[in-house]
C-alpha cells in the first residue's frame, strides 16, 4: 500500500484504516467495514471516500463501487444527522410498525429516504433489524429503540433534536 499522504479522514479513522488493512489474510477483507466507518465520519460514501479506500486497498474504484452498491446500509448521498430507521418487517408490522413509520413521517414531514430541510433527521423504512421480540422497533443511527409507541417515539426524537440521544458510533 502506498502511504496515504492527504487522507480525507480524521487521524484516528486513518489509523484505524491502516490497522484494518493489515490484519486480514487478504487486504480486501477490510473493504466493507471501511466503507461503513467512512460513511459514519463523512455522512455518506462520497467520490473522495471511494477514491481513498480504493487506493488504500489496492483496488480499482470500480471494485469499490461494485461492492458499495450491494449493501443497503451504504449510501452515496447524505442522510440526516440522525437517520431514523423504522422496521416494518413481519413482527414489527403486526405489532404496529407501520403506525410508527406513519407517525415519523408526519412528525418529521418527510417520507421514506427523505431528509428534513435542516438536515437533522432522515427517515427510512427498513427490513428486519433483529429486534423482533421487542417489536415494534427502530434504529436511530446505530441505536436500538424498542417496544415503541407513538408517545415514546416523540420523546426519542425530541431527545435527539436536543442533542440528548445516545449515539453509539
Amino acid at each position: 500500500m502506498a502511504a496515504i499522504t492527504n487522507s480525507i479522514f480524521k487521524p484516528e479513522t486513518a489509523a484505524r484504516f491502516d490497522h484494518l488493512a493489515s490484519i486480514y489474510p487478504m487486504k480486501r477483507s477490510a473493504l466493507i467495514p471501511m466503507l461503513l466507518y467512512a460513511q459514519d465520519e463523512i455522512g455518506y460514501v462520497s467520490d473522495a471516500v471511494v477514491a481513498e479506500i480504493a487506493e488504500r486497498l489496492d483496488l480499482l474504484e470500480l471494485d469499490v463501487r461494485n461492492v458499495l452498491s450491494y449493501y443497503s446500509m451504504l449510501r452515496t448521498k447524505p442522510a440526516g444527522k440522525y437517520n431514523v430507521q423504522v422496521c416494518t418487517n413481519i413482527s414489527c408490522m403486526i405489532t404496529g410498525g407501520y403506525d410508527i413509520l406513519d407517525h415519523c413521517k408526519k412528525k418529521l414531514g418527510i417520507g421514506h429516504k427523505g431528509v428534513t430541510p435542516d438536515g437533522l433527521f432522515s427517515l427510512e423504512e427498513v427490513e428486519c433489524i433483529g429486534a423482533c421480540c421487542w417489536a415494534p422497533a427502530m434504529q436511530v443511527n446505530y441505536d436500538f429503540h424498542e417496544n415503541l409507541t407513538t408517545v415514546k417515539v416523540d420523546q426519542i426524537l425530541e431527545d435527539y433534536a436536543a442533542g440528548r440521544g445516545k449515539d453509539v458510533k
Binding site: R28, S29, L35, Y70, L74, S91, I94, Y98, V126, C133
Partner: protein, 440 residues
Amino acid sequence: MPVLVSHPDEVKIISKRFGQGAADIDKYIELDGYKAVQKCIEQGPEWIIAEMKASGLRGRGGAGFPTGMKWSFIPKESAKPKYILVNGDESEPGTCKDHVIFLHDPHSVIEGTTIAGLATGAKMGFIYLRGEYRYLLKIVEKAVADAYAKGFLGKNIFGKEGVDFEIITQTGAGAYEVGEESALMESLEGKRGVPRIKPPFPAIVGLYGGPTVINNAETIASVPAIINYGGEAYAKVGSERNGGTRLFGISGMVEKPGIYELPMGYNLKKAIYEVAGGIKGGRALKAVVPGGSSCPVLLPDEIDVGLDFDQMAKAGTMLGSGGIVVLDETVSIVEFALRTIKFYQHESCGWCIPCREGTDWLKKTLTRFYDGGGNKKDIANIQYLAENMMGRTFCPLGDAAAMPTLGFIKKFRHEFEAYLEGHRTEKHFITTDELIGAGH
C-alpha cells in the same frame, strides 16, 4: 435494551449467564467461563469432536446440520490455512437470538470459536456481525481485546506452547443474503454477497480458499456449555436426534414476547400459550410462522407439535432459526404474505434468475392483488411462480421466498378468494404507492 424474560420450563444452559454482566471477562470467568476451552486443550481434537457428536447439537442457523459431523469434515492436513467463521449476520425476520448472546455472553462465542479451532486445527477465527449490530460489535470487540490481554487468544494461549488462536471481528453493511454461508465468505473477502456454487463445500474450499467451518453464532455459543455440561447429558435434555436446548424467540401477538431457552422438542402450543403467556388481549390465534419468515405457516390446529428439526419437518414446515412469529385473528394473510415477499424481493442478490425474477413477479402480483386489482388466476399464478422457484437457485433464498408463499396459498386459499370478493380486514398497514419501485 432488550428485555430479558424467564419461565420455569426453561432449561438455562446457553442463557445461564444472561443478565449477569458476563460481558465482563472476570465475571465470565467467575461463572465457569474459559474452563471448557482449557479442558479441550488437554483432551485434544478427537475428544472434542466426539463430545460434539455425542451432544447431538445441530446447526442453529436453520439448516440443522450436525455440528460434530461438520467439524469432522475439515481435512487434518491442508496446504492452505483453515478458518472458523461465526455467522452472526442474523437477519431472518422473526429472529433476534444472537442479538441477546452478543449482548449478554460475548465470551461464550469467543470460547466456542477457539474450541472449534482446537477441534479442526484452524488457527484463525472470524466473528461476523451484521452491520446494524454496531453496539454489539463494540461489546464483542472489547471481549476479544480482554481475552487477548489475559492470554486466552493469540500465541501460546493459556500458556500452552504452540497453541495459537487469533480472532478477528467483522461487520457487514446490510444484506440478508450474506447470512448464507458462501455469500458470507464472499462478503468477508470484501465482495458483493453473492453465493458460490457448491461443491466444493466450505469444509474443503472456503474462506480464502482454505478449509472453513461456518457455524451460526448460537451454535458456537453452545459449544463451551456442552463441554461443561457433557455431550451425552446435553443430548438427553433434547428430543430424539435433536440434542439439547435452543433459544426460541417468540414474537408477534403474545403477552410475553422474548427469548426463551427451551429443550428441543418442546411443544409449540405450550410455548405460545404457557411460556409466552398466550395471545395478546385474549384474542384468537390465526397462524404461527414457526422458525423465521421463510418457514411455511402453521394453523392453530397444527401447533400441537414438538419444536425440533424432525417433528417440524413432519408437520410440513421447518424449525428454521427458532423465531416463532404469532399472528392473531386481526392479521390479514394477504397483507402478511405481501410483506414477507417484499422482504425477499428486496434481499434477492439477483444472481439466479428464478429468484430475482420470481420474487419480483410475486411482489408485483401480490401488490396488485392486495390493492384490489386481483383475479382468481392470480392465486394459481402465485402458486406457479413459487413452485418454479423451488430448488432452482444456487442458494436457499429462492426457496425461502417460495416456501412461505406456498404455505399461505395452501392454507389460506379461502382468504385469498374471499379477498377478491371484498372480504378484507379493516386494518391495512402497507401503502402500495411506496411499495412499487421503492427500490430501497
